[in-house]
């Protein structure tokens, strides 16, 4: 008896959810933009900051009357799919996006997922904006991926060069988690450092992703006494612990990374020990942030209770998609038109003070314009907040 009632309830619940259509009660037609990324499990922080940035911006647009493309005003709806950081799920997510008639998707967050969805995206006419760095994703014959941020092989050299010139850094050590993304980023960083003439004193120390105590991991590196310690592809959760362990072991040199970090997490996890830590950020430091960026942070905080500084780099992808569609309304359903527009597209960057532009770049790295031009803002952490160290451009 009990079993039967239960099974019935379960079956009904499943059936109802399956049938439930996403009917938005809006007057404007709806433009759906997808997100495929990891929003549960260990790496949830990456995808969630991403998804929330998009939802904040969409809600903001809808509240102010919608987004006009080619004479029609649309409400923006974000369709999110949790791939659990599993490339198999990521493919299913991209199929789901195709099913929903979506042509523009942000994500996936990691290398393997971004590579796995390529066949689906290309056969279904979907442009996607991964946060993964492998060049093969963006070089021809690959056509539909657009790198959504600054890659480590672009930001790394800029940071190393700055530190060589301004801080007299001569030796560098690398440490990375033992999985695909960080290891690839480390290899890129080592090559860049060597090209700049830095002496790489340690490059093969790795840690398991699940490490909670970094003292034994860092002990061998500390003996090499580098001027600069690079945390390659470090996740925001591990960064404060690595910094804390290194400082407690008496490390005096500089520490940097090429990924985006959150000031609040650093403050809680490492406190004053994180002072001087260099990372890559968006445009949210006070002197760079435009009024629109400030309003974005305000709205994000209101919607989700707490801002995440990682979102500074993740606010751009949706803006690029919408602006490019506005520049060429034919691209709404035609990805080829979008790709053509990408070559010439240019619009003012609303999130940054000054005359920064939104445009597509990547000729020198990929041989085709398959990257969004995000200002390369290098931050330094000081007493609970980020300060701008320097700003550079990617071509």
């Amino acid at each position: 008896m009990q079993r039967r009632t239960l099974m019935k309830a379960v079956v009904t619940a499943v059936a109802l959810t399956a049938l439930q259509a996403t009917t938005a009660v809006a007057e404007n037609p709806v433009l759906k933009i997808g997100f495929v990324g990891v929003t549960s499990g260990p790496a949830a922080a990456w995808g969630i900051s991403n998804q929330r940035s998009m939802e904040t911006r969409a809600a903001w647009i809808n509240e102010t009357g919608g987004y006009t493309i080619g004479g029609t005003t649309y409400d923006i709806e974000i369709v999110s799919f949790d791939d659990q950081k599993d490339p198999k799920r990521a493919i299913a997510g991209m199929e789901k996006m195709a099913q929903e008639g979506i042509h523009y998707v942000v994500g996936p967050n990691v290398d393997d997922g971004a590579a796995a969805v390529r066949p689906v995206a290309e056969s279904n006419g979907i442009m996607y904006f991964p946060y993964a760095f492998p060049k093969s994703l963006y070089q021809a014959p690959a056509s539909n991926a657009v790198l959504g941020m600054v890659a480590n092989y672009q930001s790394g050299p800029a940071i190393y060069k700055y530190l060589m010139e301004n801080e007299g850094v001569k030796t560098v050590a690398f440490i990375a988690a033992n999985e695909s993304d960080p290891l690839s980023q480390r290899d890129g960083g080592v090559a860049a450092a060597k090209a700049l003439g830095l002496e790489v004193v340690s490059a093969n120390v790795t840690y398991q992703v699940d490490t909670t105590d970094f003292t034994p991991v860092l002990t061998p590196i500390m003996r090499t006494q580098p001027d600069l310690l690079v945390l390659s592809g470090v996740s925001p959760a591990n960064a404060p612990q690595l910094i804390r362990s290194a400082r407690e072991l008496g490390f005096q040199g500089m520490i940097s990374t090429e990924t985006a970090q959150d000031a609040g997490v650093l403050a809680e996890g490492a406190g004053d020990l994180a002072n001087g830590f260099i990372s890559v950020g968006g445009a949210s430091t006070p002197e760079l942030a435009s009024p629109m960026m400030n309003e974005f942070v305000e709205r994000y905080t209101k919607m989700f209770g707490e801002y995440n500084d990682e979102s500074n780099t993740k606010v751009y992808a949706l803006e690029y998609i919408l602006e490019t569609l506005k520049a060429n309304p034919a691209a709404l359903t035609d990805v080829a038109a979008f790709q053509k527009t990408m070559d010439t597209f240019e619009a003012p960057n609303p999130y940054m003070n000054g005359d920064a532009k939104l445009r597509y770049v990547g000729m020198s790295s990929f041989g085709q314009k398959r990257q969004v031009a995000v200002p390369l803002v290098v931050n330094v952490y000081r007493d609970g907040a980020f300060e701008t160290l320097f700003v550079a451009e990617v071509d």
């Binding site: 490059a203 093969n204 909670t212 105590d213 034994p216 061998p220």
Partner: protein, 289 residues
């Protein structure tokens, strides 16, 4: 060398504590608790909320972690594990239940505590530095001491109290214990609560050093499994030895093998497999678990 040993002692003591709770639950009910790591994470978040957010004294926050997890453990045992164990033909089926609970707690943690890494202010400042040969921050020394103290207290509880004796009897032979008048249902629940409480306690202790985030759960469970296997499943002393051995293996392995870089952990895992293949019941386990 001194540094490696100190790292080993520190890692070993915290690992042993994590393994203790898991092995206790396994010994009592033959349940491989996949949700152990998630319980550890909840313990960390409770201490974070009380101590880091609301400014409650650290010791009190720790107690809150213990209480929360003990209640959670008792409820899970009474309403989920006990009926499933009774109803299933093969007792391994509880692994599915444990995994389901792990998924559930992960989802709950994400909704309640968010996705960010959390940390609390240091409980003690300063670093012990002996001529740069042995460096140990004071808070680590304190946590290590507290962990060892808790382990001793736990052993005392198991050896010298009525509850402890009943639990040991239950672990040795369920049927015999029942015949001797031990209330099996009640003590299973107490044992499970105690195991969960240990997870909460170590989570609360370690949040001061490593912080806490929702991703730590699964990997912590797996690490705890390894320690339990090294020492021998379902044996209290085995869990302690397993924790200490894995702690030293990591500390020494990372120091000695660091020049091999990427394969350090590969070698650690392979040696673990060879060890288990040679000694299938772990160091001091009952044969065939």
């Amino acid at each position: 060398m001194e540094q490696i040993l100190a790292n080993g002692v520190y890692l070993g003591s915290q690992y042993a504590m994590i393994a203790l709770g898991l092995t206790l639950i396994f010994a009592l009910m033959n349940v491989l608790n996949f949700a152990h790591g998630q319980m550890y994470v909840i313990g960390g978040f409770v201490t974070y909320t009380f101590y880091g957010q609301w400014g409650v004294p650290f010791v009190l926050a720790l107690v809150m972690s213990c209480v929360t997890l003990a209640i959670l453990g008792a409820l899970i045992e009474k309403f989920l594990f006990a009926p499933v164990i009774k109803g299933s033909a093969r007792e391994e089926s509880t692994m599915l239940l444990a995994a389901g609970i792990a998924f559930f707690l992960d989802a709950l943690i994400l909704l309640v505590f968010g996705e960010k890494q959390r940390g609390v202010p240091k409980i003690v400042d300063g670093v012990f530095n002996y001529d740069f040969r042995l460096i140990m921050p004071y808070d680590r020394i304190l946590i290590c001491a507290l962990a060892i103290l808790s382990i001793v207290a736990f052993i005392g509880l198991m050896q010298y109290t009525k509850t402890g004796r009943a639990l040991r009897a239950l672990a040795q032979d369920r049927t015999a214990a029942q015949l001797m008048g031990v209330n099996v249902d009640r003590y299973s629940m107490i044992g499970f609560a105690l195991g969960a409480m240990l997870a909460g306690l170590v989570g609360g202790l370690l949040v001061t050093i490593t912080g806490v985030n929702l991703g730590m759960g699964g990997p912590t469970s797996i690490k705890a499994f390894m320690m339990v296997m090294i020492g021998g499943a379902g044996v209290i002393s085995g869990a302690i030895w397993g924790g200490i051995i894995l702690g030293f293996m990591e500390a020494i392995g990372l120091a000695v093998l660091s020049q091999y870089g990427d394969i350090t952990y590969l070698l650690i895992f392979i040696s673990l497999m060879i060890f288990l293949a040679i000694r299938p019941q772990g160091l001091m386990g009952k044969p065939w678990g």
